[in-house]
Symmetry: C2
Subunit: 451 residues, 2 copies
Amino acid sequence: MKRNGNIDIFALHPTQILVLGFAILILIGALLLNLPIASQNGQSIGFINALFTATSAVCVTGLVVVDTLTYWTTFGQVVIILLIQIGGLGFMTMGTLFALLLGKKITLRERLVMQEALNQFSFSGVVRLAKYILIMTFTIEGIGAILLSIKFIPIYGLSRGIWYSIFHSISAFCNAGFDLIGNFRSLTPFVDDVLINMVIMSLIILGGIGFVVILDVMQKKNFNKLSLHSKLAITMTLILISVGFFVILILEFYNPDTMGQLSLKGKFLSALFHSVTPRTAGFNTLPTDKLTMASIFFTIVLMFIGGSSAGTAGGVKITTTGVVIATIVSVIKGKDDTETFGRRIPRDIINRSLAIIGLALGLVILVTMILSITEKDCSFIGIFFEAVSAFGTVGLSLGVTSTLSKLGKIIIAITMFFGRVGPLTVLLALAQRKKENKGILRYPEEKVIVG
Amino acid sequence: MKRNGNIDIFALHPTQILVLGFAILILIGALLLNLPIASQNGQSIGFINALFTATSAVCVTGLVVVDTLTYWTTFGQVVIILLIQIGGLGFMTMGTLFALLLGKKITLRERLVMQEALNQFSFSGVVRLAKYILIMTFTIEGIGAILLSIKFIPIYGLSRGIWYSIFHSISAFCNAGFDLIGNFRSLTPFVDDVLINMVIMSLIILGGIGFVVILDVMQKKNFNKLSLHSKLAITMTLILISVGFFVILILEFYNPDTMGQLSLKGKFLSALFHSVTPRTAGFNTLPTDKLTMASIFFTIVLMFIGGSSAGTAGGVKITTTGVVIATIVSVIKGKDDTETFGRRIPRDIINRSLAIIGLALGLVILVTMILSITEKDCSFIGIFFEAVSAFGTVGLSLGVTSTLSKLGKIIIAITMFFGRVGPLTVLLALAQRKKENKGILRYPEEKVIVG
Ligand SMILES: [K+]
Ligand SMILES: [K+]
């Protein structure tokens, strides 16, 4: 690690760089939000709350202990949206990088070591990738902001309308779920607004499906030519959104506290929105705590599944879930191999999927148990929901976040961080991996990114 | 399926025989329990309740809509214990058979077809196996009953004491959890009784670990010489009991509604008992609904994991969980193969483990969602607990069972049946498996039974 007395960051494993980098970003964010000028009441919010908010922003979660509009000053809000943008871009870039390197069977460290040996310190490839992602992100967020401004400028005036459009476009594309609507209302005032719903949902889905898939679709323009990863991610997204839409619509159709009073248009829009948002945007247009028990539990399941790998979404990921479903189908069919879309999913991906789901379940169970000790006044479902929301970096809550004890806040903050950098990534960062090349003859394979 | 106009049961897949056989047994049990002479009030209990009780007995679950002592006549109680004994023996025999056949890479059907071809209809091997299991079961249950009678005869008198000893010995070894203590109290009156606790726990563990492991231990007498399956089952049992003991002890130590008032001996005994019973016996010595929220959630996790394959326990099984843990460790270590105890776990076992856990999670989620619609007055944790208890054929309850609606009872009965015959077995029974032999060169392997 050390060379010439200095820590050599190039000698760190890339996952260690990721974990370290985001920890530092969170710390800087916490210090800024801790300043009195960040709070409207002119007093420091206190370090735990500042740390919680910074973690929630960098990890693009959206769980908030104070209302973003009414508590923070514009300075505070700018810090938050910058943390979201840097966090979101960072995870997307690092995720894409890892995914591409995984495809090429070469680790970043190996590449760096290789470059070092060749005295070629040019990061041209990495820089070009980051540039692509930056351009794509700003393009999509720009279009989103322009579309949102059609509604927001008439409502909030020119300057505040533009600010709202930019803030919510970034927050939606980064799957962050922070909002400036006020009083923890999220997007409930816009429950039956077609434009706002459609723009926000499109941003959520594009951000959540990740750069690799978007690039693949832009290049190939034909579903059959896409990579297995893209096929699986797109199919799972469509299935989960459709299933979620029908389940939420049926369960809430007559619920007087949610959809009951809405027009048919409002019912359809809000059902679609509440199918999209748990994976893992965190906005809501219906009051989450008023949903039926079945919808709440279903939302927990969607939050746990999350979005696509190498994007801004959290959870165990839809591709991981896709691998599990493909494996179940293969086992039932009596096949030894996990097959889907005419391809065989390699064994290490299946092992990895199993490990990710096992670790995620373990983490959620542990956090729920600890919270049920520290937060004695909360209902079990509230705590369970909060734990999964934090792990999946979703940001939906049944109202537990603002009542959390100090210890509870620290636990949720740690859960968001683990949920974001991935339980597996954290562990891989700790353990030095030794790659062994074995000379086994195998059939041709294609990789899927999971986790 | 048909030959000479008759259904040829030998042409059925063994899992189809298993499902059909137990469905018939449940139906016979329900008809008997539906008779007025089964109820102490001289009136038929009604078919839904009779079916629920018969399913609970045959599937060795122990969830009860009426108290076994105070509601049923001796006739009814005898029917129940016979259903438990036949169900328990049946599952143990069938499970062992499948496990042995799996090890020999030949299905029962193939063997039967082979025998048919050779005009050898002698089931000598199968009969000998069933005989072994029968002898072992009656020996263990006999010893259990004699030990229990030391306490039960002084308390309940000679004839009732003997009846209680036999009933509870069978119920414990079969992991059924039915009791004759009265008023839904289960074994709470014996919370600090060393003999009762130790005997019941030993019976639960022996029944839950399965015949294959017991036979293996009796033959080899040396841990290192045991099969991988036995090593994994024994290790996981010890780990889960130890972890469970400490977790329950810490969480309940000062809980005034459970352990708070007990002596240190009572605390240790009840912590141990409540570590053993969720996997998946269903007796309780502490009031389940008075446990802390953290203990209740922890109990749900233990119920989901369950006992060993090819025994009387339910759940996804400890060996399945062991495979998942071994896979997680292997992935973290960067190994492509899942290794444990110096052996490589073959790929199809890992796929199967993934499928079992995926299907089990799916079933529990679905049942919880449906129950939260049909049982509006119950708390979420009560419903979730009930769904997992039914799936794991545990029989613990937070009090939901006796308040279930008719639809709720049917759903729980179906869940018990699915949980018992195994989601995978049911699906395998429906789908005809086609075995393909592929000529891939592989390293030597050893099988583990999962599910
Ligand atoms: K989020
Ligand atoms: K049981």
